[in-house]
């Protein structure tokens, strides 16, 4: 029972991480944004279905930065305060299409199995 719970937790965690990467890359493909704006826009545009906390957002951003998908730079925001803006790198742009395809396939597979799109 415990191993089953661990397994589902790991799967959920991987799904959340994967969806977080796709959400951030998609958003940054539109324009450079800083952490709070990324979390806010993702929350608003998904109707609250995807929400980031400090502990989920920044480690993911740093991980993506380490992989070279995004890069951060300090810049003043509209209120004149310095914020670390993230923009998509060319490597990040190359990741976006396969990631989108991967998720599309995942949802199609899940749909054919469980009819989730008609639920």
């Amino acid at each position: 029972m415990r191993s089953y719970r661990d397994m589902t937790k790991r799967i959920r965690s991987k799904i959340a991480r994967g969806s977080g990467e796709l959400a951030i890359l998609s958003l940054l493909a539109e324009q450079p944004l800083y952490g709070f704006e990324i979390a806010k826009q993702i929350g608003e545009r998904t109707g609250g279905a995807l929400q980031f906390t400090l502990a989920s957002l920044y480690p993911l951003l740093y991980e993506m930065e380490k992989r070279g998908w995004v890069e951060g730079h300090w810049q003043a925001n509209h209120a004149g305060r310095d914020r670390r803006y993230y923009r998509l790198t060319s490597s990040g742009k190359r990741q976006l299409a396969p990631l989108r395809q991967e998720w599309r396939s995942f949802f199609q597979a899940l749909d054919s199995l469980a009819g989730v799109s008609h639920a």
Binding site: Y34, G35, F36, E37, A39, K40, T53, L54, A55, S56, Y58, P59, L60, Y62, E63, K66, R81, D82, R83, R84
Partner: protein, 286 residues
């Protein structure tokens, strides 16, 4: 409005963030909290209410751990080593040394005991600002009084009979607990008392390195765990191959008493020692 940079610094400053990017991470998180607070404020909450609400939802330890893990290239060693193995070894060494030396020269026992207490007190006092109110007002003074009581006991023993400190002691389990053999009993009590310090030191080092509660407990209980492993597994198995350990098979009661005296009983003081360091520090809010 709180000084968010100060708030983040207080919570994250000692949690082993990579040095090269610590300032930047703190500034970035502070900016995020500042924006989040303004956002809450814009929704009609007072600044104090918004600040409290935001801080209540942050798990600082988890955040620090996740950030450390996302920048592993800058870490000199992994989190488990820093939070478990190194603190465990750091207390195992003096515990082992103490055990070796106590049998032959009680004066060294006292010196090591005093040294450990001194080091641990320094560590606890330097960490006082980060401790919760309860730790500062209860556990730390309690520890100081325990140290003082131990020192007093040692001093009284020395004044009463200095020759004891230079005599040998039998470490047979029955000699350690029976009231008829004073040197053994005194040694054993000192040995157990020292384990409070070992447990506290291990848990403190683990907490300082950002260890989880479980890691802090295990790091603190290392001497007892090792003794249990040695006596409970290695000695019985070795009895099959080495004649001098065959007593395990011929005297099972004595062997069980040995486990009780050397592994089970020390587990209690080491766990007591870890207790003050198991709580998350409750920082002052700016």
């Amino acid at each position: 409005m709180p000084d968010w940079k100060q708030v983040v610094k207080e919570h994250m400053g000692k949690r082993g963030l990579p040095e090269s990017s610590e300032e930047e991470v703190i500034a970035e998180l502070a900016g995020h909290l500042e924006d989040a607070c303004e956002n809450e404020h814009a929704q009609g909450r007072s600044e104090a209410e918004a600040g409290t609400r935001i801080l209540a939802n942050i798990r600082w330890r988890k955040l620090a751990r996740a950030i450390r893990a996302s920048k592993p290239g800058e870490e000199k060693m992994n989190a488990r080593t820093k939070t478990l193995w190194l603190p465990g070894m750091a207390i195992l060494f003096p515990a082992g040394l103490l055990l070796m030396l106590l049998d032959r020269a009680p004066v060294l026992q006292q010196l090591l005991f005093l040294g450990c207490m001194g080091l641990l007190l320094c560590a606890a006092i330097s960490e006082a600002a980060r401790m919760s109110q309860r730790t500062r007002s209860l556990w730390l003074p309690g520890f100081v009084s325990l140290v003082a009581a131990s020192l007093f006991l040692i001093a009284v023993g020395f004044v009463r009979d200095p020759s004891y400190f230079f005599s040998g002691i039998s470490l047979q389990p029955h000699n350690l607990v029976l009231p008829s053999y004073a040197p053994g009993r005194t040694f054993y009590l000192t040995w157990l008392l020292a384990h409070v310090l070992f447990g506290a030191l291990g848990a403190y080092l683990s907490r300082r390195a950002g260890g989880t509660r479980a890691a802090r407990m295990v790091a603190g209980a290392f001497p007892a765990i090792l003794m249990f492993g040695l006596l409970g597994l290695v000695v019985p198995i070795s009895a099959v191959f080495f004649e001098h350990n065959a007593f395990v098979l011929s005297h099972p009661n004595n062997f069980a008493a040995g486990i009780l005296v050397w592994a089970v009983a020390p587990a209690i003081p080491v766990l007591i020692g870890t207790a003050p360091f198991l709580k998350e520090p409750d920082f002052h809010r700016a």
